[in-house]
């Protein structure tokens, strides 16, 4: 009988691994292996067609003493500041606004969410004309108000904010649906009890809704950070980093170093830095109680 049980267990294990094999193999080759490969390659001087040459931390030293690298890191952080909090605040606000029943509420929700089913590349192509110099819709608006046209994409001080506005417009509706599901999972009893105790709209929000949404907020912040780091499409379409790298973000820099300069060593070092950033912003996923809510 015990031998039988052991054989059954072995059969189950074999079956388990066989079923996992195809998906697992792909994940190992295209997610796990590349992480370690980036770490490894970042220690080499390695350009396309050349033999890799071990230089230890050389790539990192070069990057850290390179002003462009620091500019890119600054841009990435600034862009994150201009996108993560504003798009979350907007998303929460929209969620509160559309958390009602009504004939047209579905359509209103969809108007906020539809940019999420459009490729960034299409959005950037359209917004380019909004931002275009003089003839663009934004500059035309300024001119009609008697102001100077700004040509926002060519100015180093306005190019990132301009992209951030476009990004927040795209992202707010996406974050909205997570806040909406968070709000709707808060028990009606709690808010009703607060109402009986005389809490008004703002007080209910401040002392009941917002604290109870904390796990959702933490989860949404991870998504918001990850999404803003993983996008380079708009930079490729709108500016290619211009003017003078004022709009170069980390992922675009990785792309440029790897595929324009063919410098695989340096772009691997940049990939490692990106992975470290993603690890930091994903930490809440592991401590969040909310994991259960969103993953089940």
């Amino acid at each position: 009988m015990t031998r039988n049980a052991a054989a059954r267990r072995r059969k189950e294990a074999l079956q388990g691994w066989m079923l996992l094999l195809p998906a697992l193999a792909i994940m190992l080759v295209f997610t796990v292996y590349p992480v370690f490969r980036s770490l490894y390659l970042s220690l080499f001087k390695y350009r396309m067609g050349k033999v890799p040459e071990w230089i230890g931390l050389g790539n990192y030293e070069q990057l850290f003493s390179n002003s462009t690298f620091w500019k890119v890191m600054r841009n990435t952080v600034v862009f994150a500041l201009m996108t993560v909090l504003p798009s979350m605040a907007l998303g929460l606000m929209l969620a509160l606004l559309v958390n009602r029943r009504g004939r047209h509420i579905g359509f209103i929700r969809s108007s906020f969410f539809y940019p999420s089913v459009m490729p960034m590349i299409a959005i950037a192509s359209v917004w380019m004309f909004i931002y275009m110099a003089r003839n663009g819709l934004f500059d035309q608006l300024l001119i009609s108000l008697g102001l100077e046209p700004m040509n926002v994409l060519s100015n180093k001080d306005t190019v990132l904010p301009a992209m951030a506005v476009m990004y927040d417009w795209k992202e707010a509706g996406y974050l909205m649906i997570f806040f909406l599901s968070g709000i709707q999972s808060i028990s009606q009893d709690v808010t009703e009890a607060a109402a009986i105790d005389g809490a008004t709209g703002w007080k209910t929000f401040r002392y009941i809704t917002l604290p109870l949404l904390a796990p959702t907020t933490l989860f949404v912040s991870t998504i918001a950070f990850t999404n803003c780091f993983k996008l380079a499409d708009q930079v490729i379409i709108m500016t290619e980093g211009a003017p003078n790298n004022a709009s170069t973000l980390l992922l675009y820099y990785i792309y440029q170093q790897g595929f324009t300069n063919m410098n695989y060593g340096r772009s691997s070092a940049l990939t490692v830095i990106m992975l470290a950033l993603l690890m930091v912003v994903s930490l809440p996923r592991f401590f969040s109680q909310d994991r259960k809510i969103h993953y089940n």
Binding site: A13, A23, M27, F30, V32, L97, R100, I121, A122, K230
Partner: protein
């Protein structure tokens, strides 16, 4: 009571106003694509209605080919993901074996690290196995989807074990149990996963850009970007809008028809692959 009514009306007005602001770029895009080109860009295009821009772009760019490529990519990716994820999810939900925890770690890694971040090492791998400029090369990193596995596993677990055991006693083999018992029960999860997979791959840009070299393999997004950046498109907002409309239309229509379903799918998956 009256005050409450006023507040409610104000909130409705505010949400309608914001919705209009959000819809403005789409309105401009559609109107510009479907009216005659004018010398100056206008927010309310008032020139006559025309299909000329669409026709021009359709012939200037091999959009027919790109459409075919994108459809092949989206459908084949989904079908393979469907198989690999179902198998993996069943294994993780019901079978006991050592090393399972490690698999969960791998799945979490994929959830945390977006594929686009790994373009350099994955490009090197792809060129070593000779898949540069192939459709399969675009698809292969996505054929094991952590998001789908997670979603399906959670759904499978809610199906009472007795169902599976009853089928087993009736002599059903593993495939029949998965196919006849668990898949029908997890239909909503499959629908969510389909929505997310299709929207992701219809819209994906950076990876296909890097992998493809020829029109025979380029998807719509890459085609659009090449057109939008070409000399012919310079200052040609009507044409760029027409091209953009061509590539976003199917997904956007599907979304507006099944709004609720789309939004729920994104919530239940909690992540974009």
């Amino acid at each position: 009571m009256n005050r409450q009514k006023t507040v409610s009306a104000l909130l409705t007005a505010l949400s309608v106003l914001l919705a209009l602001i959000w819809l403005a770029p789409l309105y401009w895009l559609v109107m510009t694509a479907l009216t005659k080109t004018t010398f100056n860009m206008s927010f309310f295009p008032s020139s006559p209605f025309t299909f000329e821009n669409i026709q021009y772009v359709w012939h200037a760019v091999p959009f027919g080919q790109y459409y075919l490529n994108t459809i092949i990519l989206v459908v084949v990716t989904f079908l393979i993901q469907f198989l690999t994820s179902t198998m993996a999810a069943y294994s993780l939900a019901f079978l006991n074996f050592r090393g399972k925890a490690l698999v969960i770690v791998v799945i979490f890694m994929q959830i945390i690290i977006p594929n686009d971040v790994l373009i350099i090492p994955n490009y090197l791998t792809l060129s070593e196995i000779g898949l540069i400029d192939t459709k399969f090369g675009i698809m292969i990193p996505f054929l094991g989807s952590a998001m789908a596995i997670f979603l399906l596993r959670q759904h499978f677990k809610t199906v009472p074990r007795a169902f599976g055991e009853a089928a087993k006693i009736d002599g059903a083999n593993l495939w029949q149990i998965i196919w006849r018992v668990y898949m029908p029960c997890a239909k909503p999860a499959y629908m969510s996963f389909a929505v997310i997979s299709v929207s992701y791959h219809w819209n994906n840009y950076l990876w296909p850009l890097i992998v493809t070299r020829s029109p025979q393999n380029r998807p719509l997004t890459v085609g659009l970007a090449i057109f939008a950046k070409s000399k012919e498109a310079d200052m040609q907002w009507s044409n760029v809008c027409a091209a953009t409309l061509i590539i976003i239309l199917p997904l956007l229509l599907a979304f507006f028809i099944m709004q609720r379903h789309f939004m729920n799918s994104f919530v239940s998956a909690g992540i974009k692959e």
